[in-house]
């Protein structure tokens, strides 16, 4: 066997028994699997972090997607935070706005880093760049945030799914929010087990989330689901840090997510045939974007 862990249970017990953070176990596994040097692996994650940083910056300046469905909400949220009137708290709203910023850039065919997918790419960086202002992490700690997120995502991808088409939005934004919660816990000084609890608490609250993109685009409702995913990640991390535990163990929560995904009808798995995509407005937007004859199978010739 060339892997160290394939379940959260194994991951946490490795981290506990060796007294290492989860990020370190992920780095060691990556060295083992890819036979690349530790330096090379960290350098690649550093580059991914830079891409995330640039996407957030770009989104906060305001972008508009080609369809016109999304763009500009990250700016609105930053203006609202600056007004000092926020009810849910500046840190949460900052994470929300930065998650939205990334997804708005993604929808506008901009460059992003998928975490774990492009449609869910806002949550991990959004929460990271928001808690950065509170926890003042080093660059290394920020890179480790991504490795910890990745460790949990690795388990989900191999035991369930990270694809909306296969498992609904719970597999994409659900995974992303849970991964982020686990990473926030580590950065805030929590234990590996608390990371796992945060993951479970958040994932349990993303279960059943359907993938119903309007016009089949990763815009509506995806951008706002990233926003709320970021908020849930922060709250879930706080709950775990407060000592709240999940009654259902993490691996079983992941297993439940997988089973729910498999029993979801295909209309709710990224086909744009059900849910919000099938609402009168959803259909009208689709017709507006692709023309009324989209239902007629077409052949595009160059």
């Amino acid at each position: 066997m060339d892997i160290l862990f394939s379940s959260v249970k194994e991951l946490v017990s490795l981290a506990e028994s060796q007294n290492k953070p989860i990020s370190e176990i992920m780095i060691e596994q990556e060295v083992l699997i890819t036979r690349r040097s530790r330096e090379e692996i960290i350098a690649q994650m550093d580059r991914n972090l830079t891409v995330m940083e640039q996407a957030v910056e770009q989104g906060l300046k305001g972008v508009k997607s080609t369809s016109g469905l999304t763009g500009g909400d990250a700016v609105l949220l930053q203006q609202y935070i600056a007004s000092g009137k926020s009810l849910s708290g500046d840190l949460i709203l900052d994470a929300v706005s930065k998650a939205v910023a990334t997804n708005e850039v993604n929808a506008a065919m901009g460059m992003i880093c998928a975490t774990p997918t492009a449609g869910a790419a806002g949550i991990v960086p959004g929460t990271l760049f928001a808690v950065k202002n509170k926890l003042n992490p080093t660059r290394e700690q920020m890179i480790n945030y991504l490795f910890t997120s990745g460790a949990f995502g690795f388990v989900v991808a191999n035991n369930a799914s990270i694809s909306g088409a296969a498992g609904g939005c719970q597999a994409e934004t659900g995974s992303a929010a849970s991964m982020a919660a686990a990473a926030i816990v580590e950065m805030a000084g929590g234990t590996p087990q608390q990371s796992a609890e945060a993951f479970s608490i958040v994932m349990k609250n993303m279960l059943g989330l359907v993938c119903d993109p309007v016009a089949g685009l990763v815009e509506v409702p995806c951008v706002k689901r990233n926003a709320m995913g970021a908020a849930k990640a922060l709250v879930g991390a706080d709950m775990a840090l407060a000592g709240v535990v999940s009654r259902i163990p993490t691996d079983e929560v992941i297993e439940a997510m997988h089973r729910i995904g498999q029993t979801m009808p295909s209309a709710l798995r990224e086909t744009a045939k059900g849910g919000l995509a099938a609402t009168p407005t959803g259909k009208a937007l689709e017709a507006e974007i692709f023309g009324k004859d989209k239902s007629i199978r077409d052949t595009v010739k160059s």
Partner: protein, 220 residues
């Protein structure tokens, strides 16, 4: 394990909007081009499931063409792939299919030029990761995780042994191997994933073996 590297989870760095519909699609196109070994002159792309439903909005079409032009997932030129294809002299056609495929994100790519044709089925399994499930009619499982050799040969006794001998002589370890044939005694295919990056010497040696008709490679 479907996913091996943390960079399949935190990554790829890519041009939006969808990792499975854009980045995964670009990778399927690029693998097809790699296995074909040169720039195809024409491409016929059949899309199934979610690919067929949403390919325009997700840029699946430009991504696959970008891949066929050898662009990586984060290459900004994906956006202008259609125009670039015209400049490169490649014509293409997209055919959305009603038929249900085994995987919701499936593309069947038929490419060719005056020297030959190739047909490949690729699936995008999430987060930009893809697998090749069929090549020239042979079912297979090619993950793209490892450097791979594809050997087309005549179905004769000893060919598999002679190919694996050449690989062993180079000190290389085989990670995964599949063999298949359409009909006894006719054309057969070997897919060999190895642990190390291989060089031209190995490919030349394999190509000169009796009963071997074609060797294609896929570097990791």
């Amino acid at each position: 394990m479907k996913f091996r590297s943390v960079f399949e989870i935190i990554g790829p760095v890519m041009i939006g909007p969808s990792s499975s519909h854009t980045a995964g699609a670009a990778r399927i196109g690029r693998v097809a081009r790699d296995l074909f070994g040169r720039q195809p002159e024409w491409a016929r792309i059949h899309l199934y499931g979610s690919f067929a439903e949403t390919y325009k909005g997700h840029g699946t079409d430009v991504a696959i063409i970008g891949g066929l032009l050898d662009y990586d997932t984060h290459d900004e030129r994906i956006k202008t792939a259609f125009e670039d294809a015209a400049k490169a002299g490649m014509t293409f056609e997209f055919i959305p299919e009603e038929e249900e495929a085994e995987h919701p994100n499936t593309a069947r790519i038929v490419i060719g030029d005056d020297k030959g044709e190739m047909e490949l089925v690729g699936i995008s399994i999430g987060g930009g990761t893809m697998e090749v499930t069929e090549l020239n009619g042979f079912p297979l499982r090619l993950s793209g995780h490892y450097p791979a050799l594809l050997v087309v040969h005549d179905d004769r006794a000893g060919v598999i042994a002679s190919v694996s001998n050449v690989i062993a002589e180079q000190g290389m370890n085989i990670a995964h191997m599949e063999v298949g044939r359409k009909e006894k005694g006719k054309m057969a295919l070997m897919v060999i994933e190895v642990d190390q990056i291989f060089d031209e010497t190995l490919i030349n040696q394999l190509q000169s073996l009796p009963n071997v008709t074609q060797v294609s490679t896929l570097a990791n």
